[in-house]
């Protein structure tokens, strides 16, 4: 079974880390990535940019595009795509066809990406 693990913390707090603290956190994660990769357990690992870089699309009569992260609590996180796009406009166009019946899509640039190599 493939599992996704989603990481949450206060962005203000993470933003208050010193460079050394941030580096230490990343080193901790890289260590775990190495171990999991050696076990053939590692799929893609991503560090997202801050929510200030996010853009959200809302399904409706016309798709609404607004700045900022997805903030409603009535919907739940159901899945995600990782796309390689030339610009935010490209990413928005690539995301539009994903809507089927309502919901929202948050587009967030990726800061760090390790594709991983899970064993079959």
């Amino acid at each position: 079974m493939l599992y996704a693990i989603l990481c949450y913390n206060s962005e203000a707090l993470v933003g208050a880390w010193t460079k050394e603290q941030d580096d230490a956190v990343m080193a901790h994660h890289h260590g775990i990535e190495g171990k999991l990769a050696a076990l053939g357990k590692l799929g893609p690992v991503v560090r997202l940019m801050p929510t200030t870089t996010a853009t959200t699309l809302r399904d409706g009569h016309d798709t609404l595009v607004f700045d900022g992260p997805f903030a409603e609590t009535k919907e739940q996180l159901l899945g995600f795509y990782v796309l390689d796009c030339a610009s935010l406009d490209d990413a928005i166009e690539a995301a539009r066809p994903l809507f089927v019946d309502g919901g929202a899509l948050e587009i967030r640039p990726i800061l760090y990406f390790n594709p991983g190599n899970p064993a079959k």
């Binding site: 206060s10 203000a12 208050a16 200030t52 607004f66 935010l88 406009d89």
Partner: protein, 422 residues
């Protein structure tokens, strides 16, 4: 205790903002916050951090300050709603929810705005923001500004007194007032960054800390005002400038110009975030000075080598900036782009009318000298460089110009040798 420091630092703007709304006095709010931090340092190591550190600090700080007032007045009856706040865990959730409502945005904006009140000179604005919002110690701020601790203490006290007299209203601001406040706060954050960036003396790690603090405040402001494209532009600008920090000074502390910087030292993560924000801002099609300056920095960031720089793009962005915010300094900067696209002759003609308004400006003479040197007018270049040195603000600036003069000297020596051997 590093995690407690980070938690207190990150909660500070929100907690201070709420305490200020409650007490309507900067000193009381600060004392209340200090007291709450002391208690946090006692309790958090044993009990672990609360789920919402800001809410915890606001409640504890508020109660501590009220106790203080009560003790001074001797036995005042407890107001009923304060009696309820004795059990923190129950009220924490409710309070956190109230904090999330829209006035928390305006609280933080007010706190920032108070620090950059137009009555205050800019150095006081920055000092006050660093003290009140960022929570830097007076000693740290004094070091950043190269003044004694006592002088800085006095400066901050004076600033607070002026603010108290200025009576900033505590009502929720209207749309126009909010825009005015945002613009003032953005300008203050930009100044704070420049204080760290312009290297007008001081230890390097102190200056880097100022830049990082400015970026933290810009991100905070943008989190509160998600769709303000000028705040996106400001944040992007600071990120893109700061990304080059490690390449800007050489081992001796001398300035390394963009053309000569080792681009492998540029911080790619900051650049990526800055570019993402510009991308987002430009979709609004409401260009402003911060966005345009960020876009220019973005063009530089895109170039893997100096010769890959799209100077005509930079020239065009400066042209828009000139119409939006006409200033001799903008024209001077544009002339540098023009010299790359159309040559030094055209650029020199462009800066001629600036001689009067920029008569006391170091960079004007540095740029003028560089154009003249490119045209082989070495004697005139030498005059311009000497004028620049006389106006240099830092040893690094003067040293940089002196390196041009050295080149001119070697150049003419080489020519004289060539002549005598001919």
């Amino acid at each position: 205790m590093a995690w407690i420091d980070a938690a207190l630092t990150s909660a500070r703007p929100q907690a201070m903002a709420a305490l200020l709304r409650y007490f309507r006095n900067l000193d009381t709010a600060e004392e209340a916050f200090q007291e709450a931090c002391l208690r946090a340092l006692q309790r958090w190591p044993q009990n672990g951090p609360p789920r919402d550190p800001a809410a915890w600090l606001i409640l504890v700080g508020r109660n501590a300050a009220l106790d203080e007032v009560r003790q001074r007045k001797h036995h005042v009856e407890l107001p009923e709603d304060d009696a309820l706040i004795s059990d923190l865990d129950d009220t924490e959730t409710a309070l956190a929810e109230r904090l999330d409502s829209s006035h928390y945005r305006d609280d933080v904006l007010r706190l920032l705005f108070i620090c950059c009140h137009p009555d205050l000179p800019t150095t006081q604005q920055i000092a006050l923001a660093l003290r009140v919002v960022s929570g830097l110690s007076v000693k740290e701020i004094a070091r950043a500004f190269l003044v004694s601790e006592a002088a800085m203490e006095q400066r901050i006290t004076r600033a607070k007194r002026r603010i108290a007299a200025a009576n900033v209203p505590f009502e929720t601001p209207g749309a126009v007032d909010r825009a005015v406040r945002l613009a003032a706060v953005a300008a203050m954050i930009y100044l704070l960054f420049n204080e760290g960036y312009s290297a007008s003396g001081g230890e390097e790690h102190v200056r880097v800390a100022l830049c990082e603090e400015a970026i933290r405040l810009a991100r905070l402001l943008l989190r509160l005002f998600q769709s303000e494209c000028e705040i996106m532009g400001l944040t992007a600008l600071l990120l893109l400038q700061h990304a080059r920090a490690r390449a800007r000074l050489d081992a001796e502390g001398a300035i390394v110009l963009l053309d000569n910087q080792d681009r492998s030292l540029w911080n790619r993560e900051l650049i990526a975030e800055g570019l993402a924000l510009i991308d987002k801002a430009l979709r609004h099609r409401q260009p402003g000075p911060y966005q345009l300056q960020a876009a220019i920095a973005g063009v530089h960031a895109h170039a893997a080598r100096p010769e890959d720089t799209d100077w005509s793009e930079i020239d065009q962005i400066y042209a828009v900036l000139e119409t939006l915010q006409p200033s001799p300094v903008v024209t001077l900067n544009r002339a540098v782009a023009v010299s790359k696209v159309h040559g030094a002759e055209a650029a020199l003609a462009m800066i001629e009318p600036l001689a009067q308004p920029l008569a006391g400006y170091f960079h004007f003479f540095g740029v003028k000298g560089a154009f003249l040197m490119q045209l082989g007018r070495n004697d005139e270049a030498r005059v311009a460089f000497h004028q620049a040195i006389a106006l240099a603000n830092t040893a690094a600036e003067a040293a940089h110009i002196r390196s041009h003069l050295d080149r001119l000297m070697k150049d003419s020596a080489a020519r004289n040798n060539a002549k005598s051997s001919a």
